[in-house]
């Protein structure tokens, strides 16, 4: 709480402590100054959303606590990791204080809010004054088996001057579709926010609801959640590396990583869960358990996969043609990454230690021994190294959890509470393979969802992505894109 008191305008601030987040109310006029102060103090911008408290719309700003250099995870830091600043919006149509001059990351959220409030959105493209320049459009139906999105390059031949990314072709209205459902009924939707981060998103969502309803999750479920979250990270990183090798035309390594991914997906079914780790989480725990024999299977699988992955990593590092194309491609400077509040492997490759598992431990991460992957430079190569490091850590984390699960067979994996009957607001988070996901859920007294906001890592990371095309030629764009591996579904929702 100490850091919360440093801001100006305390008089109209009314702080309420909820597990996971500090909820602060303040007036719209004070918002920009307050956020500026907090960001200057090292806080990280997370999300901006419009909600309604009864009648009038409320603007909520979510910020993450400054990361202490060394967090003693086991001791448990008393200060909650996130703060939610709420300010009511007045007027008709409601005007709201813009944060775009405070942080560029607010831009996409403000557009969404304007859209929801029925206001005009201006998006003038840049004026291109270049002889022989043309607009090179790719998509929305792009070549290959990929997600639908459109890239508009302003280019002079191979040289790219500007990139506009057109997203939201796939907007399915996930947040809106969740409204009016019980959290349990909303889970299948949440699992489909981003198909390859199903588990992490359902985890963040469950934790948000658990915080909101005060549910207690048993320790065994926490460890199981960590196991599955790390398995998800493994297959995602395998998949991303496979895509990266495809972009540099490294056929054999593309096949190798794809085979590792398929092996991991098959392991999931062997463990009795679905290939994409769906239908595991539920409010208050998990639906499945791993008994001693399953833990053995798990450990055996880790023992066969790890040497394969390590061999693949060694080969990648030694393949000059591959490394050379990644080097200095799509460099994201640390400053830019900070200003945009970047998360996940992208931020970690730019030298920012941001990892929800360490900064705000959830599930069993507080009790596990591991280190946050990190690299400097922010180029495609750095992103590859971060993924390779994370794969190593994930193997270790799965083993640690599996040991604990095998050693504590008596614990329950599920709490008795299946449908919480209380209202309230909760904030949940989880580190998806692409970075931190933050879910805000507000429940009615009947336990139905009134407002859900799913801040995916992709929606944050997509924004600085077009800035990194500078100086790279058209053929390297695919390499850069593969190294970011952003989810379109996760952005479009």
């Amino acid at each position: 709480m100490a850091s919360e008191r440093t801001t100006e305008g305390r008089i109209d601030q009314e702080a309420r402590l909820v597990p996971g987040a500090v909820f602060v109310s303040l007036s719209a006029a004070k918002l920009a100054a307050d956020v500026t102060n907090r960001l200057a103090g090292g806080a990280r911008f997370v999300a901006l959303l419009v909600d309604s408290d009864g009648q009038e719309p409320v603007l909520r700003t979510i910020l993450a606590r400054p990361v202490a250099p060394i967090v003693e995870a086991a001791a448990g830091d008393s200060a909650p990791p996130y703060s939610v600043l709420s300010c009511p919006l007045e007027g008709d149509p409601p005007g709201f204080p813009t944060l775009i001059n405070v942080t560029p990351a607010a831009a996409v959220f403000e557009r969404e809010i304007r859209d929801l409030l029925g206001q005009e959105i201006e998006t003038p493209g840049p004026i291109v004054d270049a002889p022989g320049a043309f607009q090179f459009s790719v998509g929305p139906v792009r070549s290959g088996v990929t997600e639908a999105q459109q890239f508009l390059f302003e280019a002079v031949g191979e040289e790219m001057l500007h990139l506009a990314v057109r997203l939201y072709f796939k907007h399915r209205g996930v947040e809106k579709a969740c409204e009016g459902r019980t959290p349990a009924a909303a889970l299948p939707l949440v699992e489909r926010i981003s198909g390859r981060s199903s588990f992490a998103h359902s985890l963040a969502f469950c934790q948000a609801v658990e915080y909101a309803t005060g549910s207690v999750v048993p320790a065994r479920a926490q460890y199981l959640r960590s196991v599955f979250a790390e398995l998800e990270r493994l297959y995602n990183h395998f998949s991303d590396l496979s895509d990266l090798c495809e972009s540099t035309s490294l056929g054999i390594m593309n096949a190798q990583w794809a085979w590792l991914k398929e092996q991991t997906l098959r392991l999931h079914t062997t463990l009795g869960v679905s290939r994409y780790l769906r239908n595991i989480n539920q409010i208050g725990g998990v639906r499945t358990d791993l008994d001693a024999s399953a833990c053995k299977v798990l450990e055996a699988a880790m023992n066969t996969l790890e040497p394969q992955s390590a061999a693949g990593a060694r080969l990648l590092e030694r393949t000059y043609s591959h490394v050379q194309r990644l080097e200095a491609t799509g460099a994201l400077p640390e400053q830019t990454a900070r200003e945009y509040g970047c998360v996940g492997p992208v931020a970690r490759a730019s030298g920012i230690e941001v990892d929800a598992r360490r900064a705000s431990p959830y599930a069993a991460y507080g009790g596990l021994n591991w280190r946050v992957a990190g690299y400097v430079g922010g180029d495609a190569l750095a992103r590859m190294y971060v993924r390779l490091q994370e794969i190593e850590e994930s193997f270790s984390l799965v083993r640690q959890c599996s040991h604990w699960l095998a050693g504590n067979p008596s614990e329950r994996s599920q709490s008795g509470v299946s449908i919480p009957e209380t209202g309230g607001m909760g904030l949940g988070w989880a580190e998806t393979p692409r970075g931190e996901a933050v879910h805000l859920v507000r429940l009615s007294d009947e336990g139905l969802i009134l407002r859900a906001k799913f801040r995916t890592p992709s929606v944050i990371n997509w924004q600085p992505f077009p800035l990194t095309i500078e100086g790279i030629m058209m053929p390297d764009f695919a390499v850069n894109k593969a190294s970011w591996n952003l989810s379109v579904a996760g952005n479009d929702l």
Binding site: V145, K170, H171, R196, A255
Partner: protein
């Protein structure tokens, strides 16, 4: 370079022999939900219908169950709730050529395997597939991409993903059809030469479940285009997709004598 080749050789052949040989899905794989009895307790049947997140289950008065596999997302809640009626099957040869074949009613006679007559499809051997993502969450894309990977290697049986719809025989639609993707879907279909097939990959593409209630979603691909092959699943596994493609060229279960004895 030699290191890479050596690594490739060391890994050996990992490709499935399917469809030349029968392949069994890995243990724990849920291919589809079966109705194993004719009737169940009507009250429990109603509970099952209520618990289903996509409304795929309909309970009749007398305790019979109607299951729409085109809406089923394999969450397994019904199996957990009433194991006496619902069971998970490992079968992955679940694709059909008619929407109504995806709807099963408990106790009704098992229909002949659909699409086995082979003759409907204008394609015999090779198939060039254009993929379109109309609102997929990314999982079906991930599975479809694996078809190109060594584990399944669909090129060995003459299936290829192609870049331009101009070269495509079949259009693989994955995901619910988001409103903004309606027109691109239509345009892609228009750009394809005839004859052409539409393959709906996954429950999302077949019926729009679980997002069909959302105002931002136009529904499944079936509401916009005539679908020829329905591949259920959420997401459908690579083998299920592969079976769907084989169905599209009219040669499911090639070289398999036990084929005729297969019961559903």
């Amino acid at each position: 370079m030699m290191n890479l080749v050596r690594q490739g050789i060391r890994t050996g052949v990992v490709t499935t022999r399917y469809p030349a040989e029968l392949e069994s899905a890995p243990p724990g794989y849920v291919g589809q939900i079966e109705l194993i009895r004719e009737r169940m307790d009507p009250a429990r049947a109603r509970e099952c219908a209520a618990i289903c997140p996509t409304g795929a289950i309909e309970a009749f008065e007398e305790g019979r169950i109607r299951l729409d596999r085109g809406r089923c997302i394999y969450c397994g809640l019904c199996v957990e709730h009433s194991p006496e009626m619902f069971a998970a099957s490992q079968d992955f040869e679940t694709a059909v050529t008619r929407r109504e074949d995806l709807i099963v009613i408990s106790g009704a006679s098992v229909k002949p395997p659909p699409g086995r007559s082979a003759g409907r499809s204008p394609f015999r051997r090779s198939l060039h597939i254009r993929h379109i993502d109309t609102g997929d969450d990314g999982a079906t894309i991930s599975e479809a991409k694996l078809l190109d990977s060594p584990a399944f290697d669909m090129n060995r049986i003459g299936f290829f993903f192609t870049t331009s719809p101009r070269h495509a025989d079949a259009l693989l639609v994955t995901g619910v059809v988001a409103r903004a993707m309606e027109r691109p879907l239509q345009e892609t279909y228009e750009a394809m030469p005839e004859p052409r097939l539409i393959i709906a990959g996954g429950a999302e593409a077949i019926s729009g479940a679980p997002f069909d209630a959302s105002s931002a979603v136009a529904g499944g691909a079936g509401s916009i285009l005539p679908i020829d092959i329905f591949i259920p699943g959420s997401p459908p596994a690579p083998l299920a997709l592969l079976y769907g493609l084989l169905l599209a060229v009219g040669r499911p279960g090639q070289k398999r004598p036990e084929e005729s004895e297969r019961t559903q």
